[in-house]
């Protein structure tokens, strides 16, 4: 009997095995992506079934003339820059401490990683309770220390920093994890050689450890930047984007218009703005990574 699998080798087999993954990718990623891009140039009607009529650049013109969009963009960028910077600084400091093998470092490692295990919704609810003005523990303790209670979630000038604080608490552990792994991968011989050459303390960190940690740092910052640019869940629970629109991120803005007001075409248009931002930042970071790799090879 002829073996039907006999000719099924090489490229043919490779393509066949790849096919299911390609179909899934097309169905779950590429199609929704293209469909929402298409929606952003359309007008949606549901009478007699879903109807999408071409509306040209109407939705895009509306987006670029919408003050709420610029507000959401500004807030998203502020949260991203401040939160990622703090998370990186804290993460690096704690990773260095853990890497020194201080007493109880295993216990602290587990403790530091705990917040990361929680879902953003749970973190949102937890911090909403923590920030509660009359029943929350933070505003209970502050007056005992002689400090005034703070309207964490209701004061326009403060609310953004409350969101950032929550995000820092939640995601600094990821920074620690990546940077700690990066530190662990530095060959001890290299550090030893640097020490023999007279490098120590700050100089050792600045001239040897930090450059060697650059790929891990870039990966950690890139991952967190992409995630924070899409932030919605914690803000939704903490403030709903309020008071006013003082904590409304781009994704929350898109969600409110697209899926609460069901203005699907405009919602899709809004959804593309974080995508463009994330894409641009990703390209910059990837170029930076390549540059660092080239330096490393040199």
């Amino acid at each position: 009997m002829r073996n039907i699998w006999g000719s099924f080798t090489g490229k043919k087999a490779g393509r066949a095995f790849l096919l299911p993954a390609v179909i899934i990718l097309l169905a779950l990623t590429i199609f929704p992506f293209l469909f929402s891009l298409f929606l952003s140039f359309g007008k949606v009607s549901f009478l007699g079934g879903l109807q999408i009529n071409f509306a040209g650049l109407k939705n895009w013109a509306r987006l670029f003339g919408d003050e709420r969009f610029y507000n959401a963009l500004r807030i998203t960028i502020l949260i991203t820059v401040i939160a990622v910077a703090i998370e990186y600084a804290l993460g690096l400091g704690l990773a260095l401490l853990l890497n020194r093998g201080v007493k109880g470092s295993t216990f602290f490692r587990v403790l530091f990683f705990l917040p990361m295990m929680l879902t953003p919704i749970a973190v949102g609810y937890m911090w909403r309770m923590m920030f509660h003005f009359t029943r929350g523990p933070i505003d209970h303790v502050l007056p005992l220390l002689g400090l005034p209670a703070v309207a964490w979630l209701t004061e326009p000038k403060i609310v953004l920093y409350s969101v950032i604080l929550t995000d820092v608490w939640h995601w600094t552990p990821l920074m620690i994890l990546i940077l700690f792994a990066g530190l662990q991968s530095i060959p001890p011989a290299l550090l030893e050689a640097a020490r023999v050459d007279g490098a120590a303390g700050w100089r050792l960190f600045r001239e040897v450890i930090f450059p060697l940690l650059a790929p891990a740092s870039i990966a950690a910052i890139l991952l967190r930047t992409i995630e924070v640019l899409k932030i919605i869940d914690k803000i939704y629970i903490l403030t709903g984007g309020g008071p006013g629109i003082y904590s409304e991120s781009m994704t929350l803005f898109g969600y409110s218009l697209g899926l609460r007001a069901f203005d699907l075409a405009y919602g899709a248009t809004i959804a593309f703005s974080p995508f463009v931002t994330v894409l641009a930042i990703s390209i910059v970071f990837l170029l930076m990574t390549r540059r660092f790799q080239e330096i490393g090879l040199e």
């Binding site: 009478l47 326009p156 403030t239 309020g242 006013g244 409110s256 609460r260």
Partner: protein
Amino acid sequence: MFKKIKKGRFIKEAAMVILCAAVIVLGSLGSSQALAEKRFEGVEITVFTQTPPFIVKPVWMFGPDWEKKTGGKVRVISAAWAELYPKMFSSFALGAKKYDIILFPAAWLADFASNEFLVPLDNFIAADPEIDWLDILPVYRERISTYAGTIYAIPMDGDNHIFYYRRDAIENPEHQAKFKAKYGYDLAPPETWVQVRDVAEFFNGWDWDGDGRIEYGVVEAMRKDDQAYWTYFSRTAALTSIPGQPQGLFFDPETMKPLINDPGHVKALENWIEILEFGVPGMINMESGDIRGVYTVGEAAMAIDWGDIGVMADTSPESTVKGKVNYSILPGTTRAWDYVKKTWVDFPEVNHAPYLAFGGWLGAIDAKSDNVEAAYDFLSFLSRPENSYICVTTAQTGFNPCRKSHFEKLAGWYGYGFVYPEDYLGAIEATIAHPNVQPDIRIPGAARYFEALDVQLSMALAGAKTAKQALDDAAKEWERITEDLGREKQLKNYRASLGLPIE
């Protein structure tokens, strides 16, 4: 040939034959009735509503009884509040037939019915004596459940905002004396929004119930992306609704121009912004669930809410205010803005305009469902008076009174834990039956109009805009939405929702 039979024996034997025949006939009748009752054997209906326990609990309570009776199966799918509308709409619009029955807020009926997503129910109801349709209060059966004169849904729950105040605070003679000295009139349950402001100021920021904690004047849901617009319209209705005039709360029914930035609305928003000062701290970020928790642990003297605070205050184990809460129709005003004459109108008496915020939860059937008959049968079963009464007097069902019979029997309400059920039911009944009662917005795109307003209200409350600026911006956005959806079409829909003639 035939044996002569004695008369007595004959009668005995005849009686036996008749008895046997009766047993056989009745038995067969019974089995055919049982067969008829099991008419949905093998049919599974899918009910979609919000996550447990509220609203879905009645389906859990009565689903098994209906299954036993009809042989059908009830499958429940639920989603968070914010996901309900998108999931329902997309299932209908894409013809996905995911749900046979939806339990949904009345405000969305026009959106669904105008897009022909729902099964018209007039014929089903006309042929169904068990639903006792006329027992449902007129405002729910004639307005809330209909669209353009056709019934598309069955009211499961009656929803309207009522006003809450603490009996112990208002009736305290010491408080009464202090209040009179400060404001020059007697402390009493507030009749107007101006009095609400004074009473809120008076009770704000001191321990007036002697529990060792600071209490506040009022608590109202103001959080963005939640249900703040309903609180706002409750405060606005009396300032914009003149008895006998078509609703002045949302649009001009002649032109579809938004009325939300007229002086009545602006005044209401200014009042609302001012009340922040006398409210529980953090009130701007509180949703309905928060205010219920805050009020029932005794942090505020007054509140605006649906029937839920009343239920929680007297029946929740965490409540510290059991028996201390009283209820009334929403306060009114002594003047209102006449949108037709563009002038303020003064009233010799207080003008009340209670607001059917939200309008309640309705049950409807997907027009593309394969199980329409079974779905209707289940809705009817859930809604019929005896089952509905159990729902409204059971904790965590989320169903509030919407039938005459709900108000007639107090035993269930006492059993539920109410201390003064007649007062609670009285406030709800006075609201629903009021001649100047204002229904909620019921036109396609309601969610878009509310979202646009919600943002502007939140901006005004946060101090980013004045009341006038915020409402002017909201009106512009409402105009844009109306243009987008088609002014003529929207005007027809709006007039239909108010029961006005359509040319």
